[in-house]
Symmetry: C2
Subunit: 352 residues, 2 copies
Amino acid sequence: MSQYWTDLVRRLDPYIPGEQPQDQQYLKLNTNESPYPPSPEVGKAISNFDTDLLRLYPDPESTELRQALATQHGVNPDQVFVGNGSDEVLAHSFQAFFKQSKAILFPDISYSFYPVYCALYEIEFDKLPLDKDFCIDVESYNQPNGGIILPNPNAPTGIALSSSSIKTLLDNTDSVVIVDEAYVDFGAESAVSLIGQHDNLLVTQTFSKSRSLAGLRLGYALGNTNLIDALNRVKNSFNSYPVDRLASNVAIASVKDRIYFEQCNQKIIDNREQLSQSLATLGFHVYPSSSNFIFVEHEHKAAVELYQELKQAGILVRYFKSSRIDNCLRITIGSQQDCYALVDALKIILTT
Amino acid sequence: MSQYWTDLVRRLDPYIPGEQPQDQQYLKLNTNESPYPPSPEVGKAISNFDTDLLRLYPDPESTELRQALATQHGVNPDQVFVGNGSDEVLAHSFQAFFKQSKAILFPDISYSFYPVYCALYEIEFDKLPLDKDFCIDVESYNQPNGGIILPNPNAPTGIALSSSSIKTLLDNTDSVVIVDEAYVDFGAESAVSLIGQHDNLLVTQTFSKSRSLAGLRLGYALGNTNLIDALNRVKNSFNSYPVDRLASNVAIASVKDRIYFEQCNQKIIDNREQLSQSLATLGFHVYPSSSNFIFVEHEHKAAVELYQELKQAGILVRYFKSSRIDNCLRITIGSQQDCYALVDALKIILTT
């Protein structure tokens, strides 16, 4: 602590990301990165980049990237906001929409960055419990609120809501509903098609998971122009140029390669289904996932022990020391080879 | 306006950056970009980049980049904070240090983003007038305050304070003093050497100007570990990974090429001195600049007309429609050829 800190900074309880050892000694199944490299078009975009252009500021509006995303999602460019990772986009969204007189609502088991944003912007929140199967109870959100945010599929459970459930949420509130679709491309229904009818809907997506570009830091929001305008007001009061020239070119190349994108996501889905079956035979309960990770609980062995023993075996998975889920592990879906390595390691751990 | 916006968003008055036409039809002397390309090492860093690594998150601590900057500046890595442009670093700094019960202080003529940050974080401020020669009156800051921020050299005047004046500021306050050294490499004295004795000093710098990397978005702060800790608390409550893998590699390559850096900056200084003389002979008053721009006022012709006529001639300079400086132009120092083109255009404008 320091005499120079603001009271706000003293009160913060910052987000702790999954371990990021830089020595590449581990099989990393802990931060939901893709096991597959980004599109080959990304490599070409980097090779073809004119380095001299880095002397000039990027387009503060990211016009070309927003156009590419608009085409991809069937919306207008003025319904697209881009940022330096979806975490930045979410941060701006909390400030733009959620600093209200009423508390905002999100699930008790969810992305653990949400309460951190609330602390950063002094926003009140209520956590609504998932049901006993770890599903979001949509009806429980039908109460006065300053906004609603939920990941779909939810993290760390991987369980998805249907588009009709999202519609119910939207119909029951006059506040902004943010659907955080970081993992939507692995089998869930996107709410983007609802934007036209619901001017209180903001959908956020990321290049970090399904586009194999966690190292690039690119995220975006889609919604009614009025909501995008609010995000631009915050962004232009924070940093006029959040997306650099290289990142913009790389992101555009990725968006335009739809075939590779779909192929990689299908491989992840296939690996997930196969891994889920293998773990079930080892005595795990596997929650039904629509994500690039699975959430599991073993019938006998404590999650914290499994986490530690896997780490000793060179495999990182994510363990959350939180109420209700402290006997579960979140495991990223790797390549087929990664999944085999995990199953082999678990077989040894569970039989010794 | 929208029913969904927070009151805060309604009140914002976002920053407006200098015009950024994307068609490259203009000679851009309006946003203080370098006329020279970045270091050749930057091109090599991009060519050698392993694209497959983009699937993995970057190091959230930016350890290697902070180490490179620490070596460059003779400080410890835990005295370095990096971000997505110095605008982001400044934004975090306002939240970390300036949300105090007393108003913060900055010059009335200064970087116009400061009051925007104040609105974003609901911080009170007082603007203290520059003296009649547009110099900062250090003694006027000797009053109760919640913090002090000033660019050194100041923008848009280009006029620098000596290191001993900065020391006076630091000695006269118990609050945090941020010295924004975006333009320090063009001939001003840096305050970095004062960090060891002044635990309330934060110095910010950028890769956008003297490193020819405005398109990369990289800025940083140097200060006492306690101040850096506060910035990390804010950053880790906002976006765990602000610096992407490509940007980090490019920045490291740039920092390590000291010779190219110094050569380019010396060329800018030489061009500035030559241009200042040429403009003086055309009837301009040129304020003494230690920056990569000059601030000028013509003895007869109104600045707004000069701005418009230069734009018609294909040259963009910066005109601020603000009290006290609405008869001045800020002109970025380009290459020698750019400077000749500007002088030629002005000769025509001033004789017709």
